[in-house]
Amino acid sequence: MARAALLHLLRHRSVATATAPLSAYKCLSSNSKTPSGIRWTSICRAFSSKAAVNNIIGIDMANTDSGVAVMEGKERLDPFSLVADELSLIANRLRSMVVAEVPNLASAAEYFFKIGAEGKRFRPTVLLLMATALSVRIPELPPAGVGDTLPTDLRTSQQRIAEITEMIHVASLLHDDVLDDADKRRGICSLNAVMGNKLAVLAGDFLLSRACVSLASLKNTEVVTLIATVVENLVTGETMQLTTASKQRFSMDYYMQKTYNKTASLISNSCKSIAILAGHTAEVAMLAFEYGKNLGLAFQLIDDVLDFTGTSASLGKGSLSDIRHGIITAPILFAMEEFPELHAVVDQGFKNPANVDIALGFLGKSSGIQRTKELAMKHANLAAQVIESLPESDDANVIRSRQALIDLTQRVLTRNK
């Protein structure tokens, strides 16, 4: 049965792209768990005839957040618009790179690129900015070509890191969403329910294998090691989330380790790869790593807050998907420190909505949200400091990119979706 559905989906691309998004949106706007804390409702929109490029690059986000703000006489450039052209180049290359010998599978994987753009191509933006920030001049954009040829220059290979990062990210979303029979019976709706378990596995494998090929083409075994470590970390993080024994769920250390694995490792190691490709010293590479790590952690911590507060400042207005799935995040962990009674509630689990309300009650009384925001701010500031520690440069592009990277650390904190 599943096989027939899978084959049907594979052979009828129009079905996959036309009807799926709408039903995905419908089921996603109800309480479904999305991996890695993606804010689906903000991203999932009915397919418009607008150039797909806009959906992916997230120019929308750049526009709504008032592109250019003048502050103290210094023009603050929007980080996303600084790299917009390059991002579209990457998006096109990604698209052509996923055309495999079996086009039907490629279209299924592509579907996820359109929707899976959490943070509106946040990661590639960081990577491209980092590449410039590390003293690489932005060359004339090369003509858009198919991604399989050997990168002839540094910038192209750094762009390739951005492509690889996206492929790995989407692949991990797909695999994280694989259902066990128990989940199917509970009717958990997800990307997977829409596309079929097997397609999710296969499309994920496909993306991972293309990422490997792209990685090998960089001819740099240190970078291969870093990115391979990322996938190991992603898997470890997801397994940590799947299988936590109760004691560990209450541990802030365990939670931070899991968060590093699931969210920060990808961006930290790819930032480091950018530096390594540019031939930087181990120290500079480490700085790039630290930026990515702290930014990633800050991002996730705010994500945790938003899951409770949503776009309002008040509790309980968020999607509450983490807690409903029994995933204990920083705000609750902090609240448990102040209110040990919360332990018992957490132990009981959150299948019973009454427990969710009780937990929210405790959370409201505690300074859990506040402390999480403070922790996020701490990491965001650490990231900003790292940029300031980079070796000096008086190149205007370099300075602008570094400013943009610092700017991003603040945007991560102030976003409300």
Partner: protein, 388 residues
């Protein structure tokens, strides 16, 4: 035999050998007047058993593999290590081939007659080649784990499949973990060409699986499509890793290609016999095999050949094999046709091509090298003659 064994052991364990055994055959021939033609070992050719020749080394490789598949999360570690436990490792034919190939291509380059390579280099090289065997096993098992999820398979290697035991999700994650642990180990060899080869194999595995799952009826009935898919799913990994072994030895592209050809043809021959056995099982008669391919709608060489003789079989294929009556119909046609025989002939042809590749390797006087080559040739016979 004991001399050979001790040479193999000392090579691996690092016991320093006397210098004159290290000199290349040219040096030896000049100094000792020995000729390549005089055999120094009387073991008959067919008694050279590939599996026992590398048995000791294999157990080292397996041990190391088990200890390298570690993870911080215990559930992940045990899921990833599931198929490396003693007793469920399978025949590890791939690793056997690679270790034999490592010796078979161990030819000292003619440009340096007095190379008298230091022991450390030899040991280091061997260790790297063993790593290729480990990496290949990890990739292979990772793909098996995912295949079982995709096929809803309950059993594998006589025990429950990983997905059956720990669930689909953890199985998929464990497969990913293994694959990228393999990639990390691969990167540690610091050889970008070898990385590219194995990565190509990884990509081919996925393409092959996709070809199998997403084929249209026309494609499923096409011999060409089937051959391509079989190369991707079965032969690509072993051919590329054989080539990697040769490259690590510093071999010429010509020798590397021969190693590739051996792996490719051996892999294909293996798969064709597998296809037959799925119909016949350990008996010679049809229908006694597990018939798992056809029940899953996977059309293999015997049926493809039968369809050439009986085009009516097309219609049955189109209907699909959920209905057991169709399976019986197909078996009937198969029985009447020469499908099984022709598949066997095809397997034999590829086995011969594999053996020919070994025969084309540059001559060597070393007894180890000759023995390994003989073992590789014998392996082609063993695999085509097997009945399970």
């Amino acid at each position: 035999m004991t001399i050979l064994f001790s040479r193999v052991v000392s090579r691996i364990s690092g016991t320093p050998k006397k210098t004159f055994f290290n000199c290349p055959q040219l040096c030896q021939a000049l100094v000792f007047g020995t000729s390549c033609r005089s055999p120094t070992d009387s073991t008959p050719k067919d008694k050279v058993d590939p599996f026992s020749l590398v048995a000791h080394e294999m157990s080292l490789v397996s041990k190391r593999l088990r200890s390298s598949v570690v993870a911080k999360v215990p559930e992940l570690a045990s899921a990833a290590g599931y198929f490396f436990k003693e007793g469920v490792e399978g025949k590890r034919t791939c690793s056997v081939v690679l270790l034999l190939m490592a010796t078979a291509v161990d030819i000292h380059r003619p440009e340096s007659p007095f190379c008298c390579i230091g022991d450390t280099w030899t040991i280091e090289l061997r260790r790297r080649q063993q790593l290729i065997a480990e990496i290949t096993e990890m990739i292979h098992v990772a793909s098996l784990i995912h295949d079982d999820v995709l096929d809803d398979a309950d059993t594998r290697r006589g025990i429950g499949s990983l997905s059956f035991v720990v669930g689909n999700k953890l199985a998929v994650l464990a497969g990913d973990f293994l694959l990228f642990r393999a990639l990390r180990t691969l990167a540690s060899l610091k050889n970008t060409e070898v990385v590219s080869l194995l990565v190509t194999a990884i990509e081919n595995l996925v393409t092959g699986e996709t070809m199998q799952m997403a084929a249209t009826i026309e494609q499923r009935c096409s011999m060409e499509y089937y051959m391509q898919k079989t190369y991707y799913k079965t032969a690509s990994l072993i051919s590329n890793s054989c080539k990697a072994i040769a490259l690590l030895s510093g071999q010429t592209p010509g020798v590397a290609k021969l190693a590739f050809e051996y792996g490719k043809n051996l892999g294909l021959a293996y798969q064709f016999i597998d296809d037959i056995l799925d119909f016949t099982g350990s008996s010679a008669s049809l229908g006694k095999g597990s018939l798992s391919d056809i029940r899953l709608g996977i059309i293999t060489a015997p049926i493809l050949f039968a369809t050439e003789e009986f085009p009516q079989l097309h219609a049955v294929i189109e209907q699909g094999f959920d209905d057991p009556a169709n399976v019986d119909t197909a078996l009937e046609y198969l029985r009447k046709s020469r499908g099984i025989q022709r598949t066997r002939e095809l397997a034999t042809k590829h086995a011969s091509l594999a053996a020919a590749a070994i025969d084309s390797l540059p001559e060597s006087c070393s007894m180890d090298v000759r023995k390994s080559r003989q073992a590789l040739i014998n392996l082609t016979q063993i695999l085509t003659a097997r009945n399970k």
